[in-house]
Symmetry: C2
Subunit: 405 residues, 2 copies
């Protein structure tokens, strides 16, 4: 039988329900890899993502894989074995940057804050001075804690200390302020499955000229494709698939044969960016701020507490403390009831927060009033059925107040 | 404007026009990553690919990237720095295996035959004895030459010499006989964009128990996900994204969090396999054999010569010598005319064949009578307009004879 998924409203930390316009774009028929229309569409997609990332970087393109592939492409292309990488860890995805940088052979240094907090720029600069890394790798929004690390000062710090600045903006881009060039970020990667409203499987990336120089300094065009006499420079990048030097040549005027572009994902990524640009980046961030605030006040209106430093929360996700009255496995039971009876998914959590908070997202296509109110209405019913004391209508009412104010 | 590709009939060596049923399946809405329906669909997809690969391997799943990501996942997960890898090279994709294995730190040995030929098993065994590799890595069908390497004897050779056998079946699977278990293949990877009739972006893979043991012998679950006290073994796999030990745990009962599954590509990959299984693997191979023969006889009927050892040609692609009368850049001009005037794409070629042959595919959704006859009819018109002497109707006529015999 052809695929026939159940109807779901995905209100977790992502992936979320895709914008139907993105899925429609992805149903378009394929064209050839070097068809003039195809290469023009790739070039056009680069331009759209320049607007999304707010950058003038020529090298703004897609890595053909999930957001994690984008992270690894950035790190494996920048980092040589033995290079020092500094990672400020404030949640699970900081640990992921550590893990990937280690597999690239980096000497990784970390600083940490407790989950639910972010770093002051001074703390990061102090660690930069102490460790003198080649790359500072930082997550903007870590869904594991819902925190959004302020980045505005980091570019200047990195330039002062001659450090490359990499940022994983997967969970935050499109729903929170983001400025690649104004903030001095060298490499930024993202994914479609959060605020961009698409499916996982394509990783937009932008690369500054400074970072391009580092990556091209390691370029070794693969055997059978290199021009006669074209020799490689520097330590060869340890991956072929995620070798950004070659990927840039595939997207650039040289159109060097590399992977076969994942055309359907390209169509989806293009449509995600097109819709964001059409809405306007500022309007999209304001939309995420509005619906995120409605969800935040809504869960508070149900009498639930919110985890973490709310002043530094991403707009698009909130961590809600599981009421003590639900008992030790009650958090999962309530999530299951929401899914099975109401078709609504909210998220569990990792590590130190496991069993303690739910994560509720309002992002991309689901940063919408009806999605927020439906979720709060259903959550109220599930909590009531589980015997949790609450104010009837308190969640929807508090959210409505945000919308009407 | 939403994506609006021109109408194309893709008759090159792949990617080809996707089966509309695959694109429709890919337009289905998303569900959550750990939704019971989603995990059941992943498990079901594993079963479908066991049928496609003709294997009982439990570890039969998808790598989230193009076919090249599947190749790199196989090699980086099997090969440790310093391991010996033997690659019989009979075209461009053999060179790609060399390139990727080298980036994994392998000591790579090669044997080569001229383009247009394949290896006798004895020649491969001789090289195995001489180099004693850990892995023999071989392409089944190399679109650069159209050749299909016989594999049936290689598994037994590899077992006798305690060598792991990896095969890249991207271009051939679904259109040519393929037997993972009967031929003793340890790891096989593929892609959707050839005989499977889907878009590039998902890489089906199957892994024998013997290869699983090697890969799991190097398993290091990433920090922040590992169970307390869970320590890694062996030399850590150099990639996180393409680490098959972790990918297997994501697809398996442990459901270990790794990447966010590219759900839309999963839907497409599932539908590609479902359609093949519904048709029957033998019927699909027979269909590719029929339409491949019709195209072969059709281009001959136009008076064109065919490159390579036709007895070892893949069913799904033919290399056609560019008529001398077209002049040095005439091959590209004729391809452009086919594309611009008739909306039909045929392929150029690489390396030693560049400028000498066109590659014409009949695969996946386009292994169809109307696609073959339209291509031959249009090619006749283009060649006539370019002044190439030919028999009017000779191409379509010869193909019709194949269909009526």
């Amino acid at each position: 039988m052809s695929v026939h998924p159940p109807h779901r409203l995905l209100m977790g930390p992502g992936p979320i329900t895709a914008d139907p316009r993105v899925l429609r774009a992805m149903s378009a028929q394929l064209v050839g890899q070097y068809d003039p229309w195809m290469t023009a569409t790739m070039t056009e997609t680069m331009g759209l993502y320049r607007e999304v990332f707010r950058t003038a970087n020529e090298q703004t393109l897609l890595v053909d894989g999930t957001s994690r592939a984008g992270i690894e492409a950035a790190l494996v292309s920048l980092v040589e074995p033995g290079d020092r990488v500094l990672v400020p860890v404030f949640g699970r995805f900081g640990h992921l940057l550590v893990e990937i940088a280690e597999r690239c052979g980096a000497e990784v240094h970390t600083i940490e804050v407790p989950w639910g907090q972010v770093f002051a720029p001074e703390a990061i600069e102090e660690a930069v001075v102490a460790t003198r890394p080649k790359v500072l790798a930082v997550v903007q929004g870590d869904t594991s804690t819902t925190m959004c690390q302020p980045l505005a000062d980091l570019g200047e710090i990195c330039r002062r200390h001659d450090v490359l600045l990499y940022c994983d903006a997967t969970a935050s881009l499109g729903g929170n302020d983001f400025e690649t060039d104004a903030w001095g970020l060298d490499v930024v990667t993202a994914g479609l499955q959060k605020c961009l409203g698409g499916p996982s499987g394509s990783a937009p990336i932008t690369i500054s000229e400074r970072a391009v120089a580092v990556i091209d300094g390691r370029k070794h065009v693969e055997a059978g494709i290199a021009e006669p006499g074209e020799t490689g420079a520097g330590v060869r990048i340890a991956s072929n698939y995620l070798d950004l030097a070659q990927v840039m040549d595939y997207w650039g005027p040289r159109r060097l044969n590399h992977h076969t572009e994942a055309t359907t994902m390209l169509y989806g990524a293009r449509e995600c960016a097109r819709l964001l640009v059409e809405e306007g980046l500022d309007a999209a961030v304001a939309r995420h701020a509005l619906h995120g605030r409605a969800m935040l006040e809504g869960v508070r209106g149900l009498g639930l507490a919110v985890f973490g430093d709310v002043a530094h929360k991403m707009h698009n996700v909130v961590a809600v403390e599981i009421p003590a009255g639900l008992g030790s496995s009650g958090g999962d039971a309530a999530r299951s009831a929401l899914l099975e009876d109401f078709g609504i998914e909210i998220g569990t959590s990792f590590g130190p927060l496991h069993g303690k908070v739910w994560r509720i997202g309002t992002m991309g296509y689901n940063a919408r009033k009806d999605a927020v109110l439906l979720t709060l209405a259903a959550l109220e019913q599930v909590l009531r059925a589980a015997g949790v004391p609450l104010t009837a209508g308190g969640g929807v009412g508090a959210a409505r107040e945000v919308y009407s104010s």
